[in-house]
């Protein structure tokens, strides 16, 4: 049984970052989910901080550096994706968005059908709707399948026991991880975007244009 590939994109900027901390907790929770198919989950982490200049260069040149191409392949070829951003100015960080812009510009179907768990970190819980108002629409645009539970971690979540009316961070992580694992284990793997070129046979391209085949 080949292992399932789980790619984690973390857009945290400080080292160490709470964004990365949340990303690691989520990845570990997915890895530990029991599954009927006995397939292991292999985790690969993409730290966008290390690729910041490469991402900016890609936006002006139209092509990725070798390191960025490897990160894009890790994302497009994964069986599941965990995407975690810090909240900046009420939304995902610019670096986070630019990374997914670069992927979408090269191939707007690259993340179609991809199981995605979205998560974010911030100073207070006041920005937690960033997950629903920014992250979820972004991945909906990319035609990914976003799991129902999105995980937000405010500074307070890293200590204390939360308020009695809200699930604690570990509970939310476990629920989201279970949802992602279920999608990943039930899914056919797809080759990464940089695999061999696929093409529609030319007769089909021509036939689609013949006047008699038009249905308008």
């Amino acid at each position: 049984m080949t292992a399932l590939k789980l790619t984690v994109v973390s857009a945290g900027l400080s080292v160490p970052s709470s964004t990365r901390l949340l990303a690691d907790r989520l990845a570990e929770a997915v890895r530990r989910q029991p599954a009927d198919d006995d397939r292991q989950v292999e985790v690969q982490v993409v730290e966008l901080r290390d690729l910041a200049a490469d991402i900016a260069h890609n936006t002006v040149t139209g092509f990725p550096s070798a390191a960025l191409a490897e990160a894009i392949d890790a994302v497009t070829g994964a069986d599941g994706l965990i995407a975690v951003t810090p909240v900046f100015s009420g939304s995902y960080s610019g670096l986070f968005k630019s990374f997914f812009d670069v992927i979408g510009a090269a191939d707007d179907g690259a993340l179609t059908g991809k199981p995605v768990l979205v998560a974010a970190t911030g100073g207070t819980a006041r920005h937690s709707l960033v997950l629903e108002h920014a992250m979820r629409p972004l991945f909906a645009y990319l035609r990914s399948v976003v799991v129902p539970t999105a995980v937000y971690a405010a500074a307070d979540d890293w200590g204390g026991s939360g308020d009695p009316l809200t699930d604690t961070l570990p509970t939310r992580i476990a629920r989201a991880a279970g949802e992602l694992a279920e999608l990943m284990h039930g899914r056919q793997s797809r080759p990464p975007a940089s695999g061999p070129e696929q093409v529609v046979p030319f007769e089909q391209q021509l036939a689609a244009l013949r006047p008699e085949s038009r249905k308008e």
Partner: protein, 372 residues
Amino acid sequence: MQFGIFSVGDVTQDPTTGRVPSEHERIKAMTAVALKAEEVGLDVFATGEHHNPPFVPSSPTTMLGWIAARTERLILSTSTTLITTNDPVKIAEDFAMLQHLADGRVDVMMGRGNTGPVYPWFGQDIRQGIPLAVENYALLYRLWREDVVDWEGRFRTPLQGFTSTPRPLDGVPPFVWHGSIRSPEIAEQAAYYGDGFFANNIFWPKEHFQRLIELYRARYAHYGHGTPEQAIVGLGGQVFMRKNSQEAVREFRPYFDNAPVYGHGPSLEDFTEQTPLTVGSPQEVIDKTLTFRESFGDYQRQLFLVDHAGLPLKTVLEQLDLLGEEVVPVLREEFAKNRPADVPEAPTHAARVAAAAAGQAGKDSEKEEVAK
């Protein structure tokens, strides 16, 4: 193997002097560069086609006709001719006319064009880019091969009993290259017709083009035109040379750093590592170009971009001297070594006329056999 140059035709400020050439100067510079290409022994000059500033070559066959009248051996081509927004009937007429005037020294490279507004300016829709390229070329192909064409399609008014004139010289249409930077559909189209495929690899790392060319070669064989190794491949590459490497880098860096297509992104060093751009001595250009064969297989045409980034004409002409004297003679010799005998030469009108005559003779003798 053919060697030549291709020009985008941009009007770009010289960042070292702040001077911007006029359109007239730039057009005259392009033709001066073409004449120089023949003088230094290159085989091909190709011009781009654009319909927006800061680019000047909107009317390629007018320019190429002028050059044809002043040259003897140079093959005149395009990089590219917009198969999406030009009327295929006008392409058929213009290039057949040019072919007669140039005594066959003409081929053409089809491209889709990636400037969004050009499509609506010419009454088309960029979202139909691939279907336009497919349908328009299918019509062009017939106009050059059938004396009378009845035709109906999606994008152009129908034709009844139409004859495109003049008929191609010697009954043999100009050779066609299909240029692409990212679309497998275009590699497939080139393979289907047995036409050439030009990978305009100047801005992308080689792995991307290896996949495209591999696809083209495999599909060329699939459609029965020959082995994958016999498919007709052209490649680009942009260079700046001085006698020694340090001098070249020092002189070109301000041009690189400020050019609209290169500047304000990766450093000159990163860019030269990741793309075909070579800034250095003639030997470095030779070395880099020879790696193309390792990456893409034996190929037929190498075009260099030399009039880029706002370089003044005098500098560009010096580049051509270096290309003609020091680079291309070595490349011709090296590329000829270990080249398998069944890899075809680059297409020329004379060779295509001979092949057509041989094909016709074959058919005639078959007919005689049947008659007997």
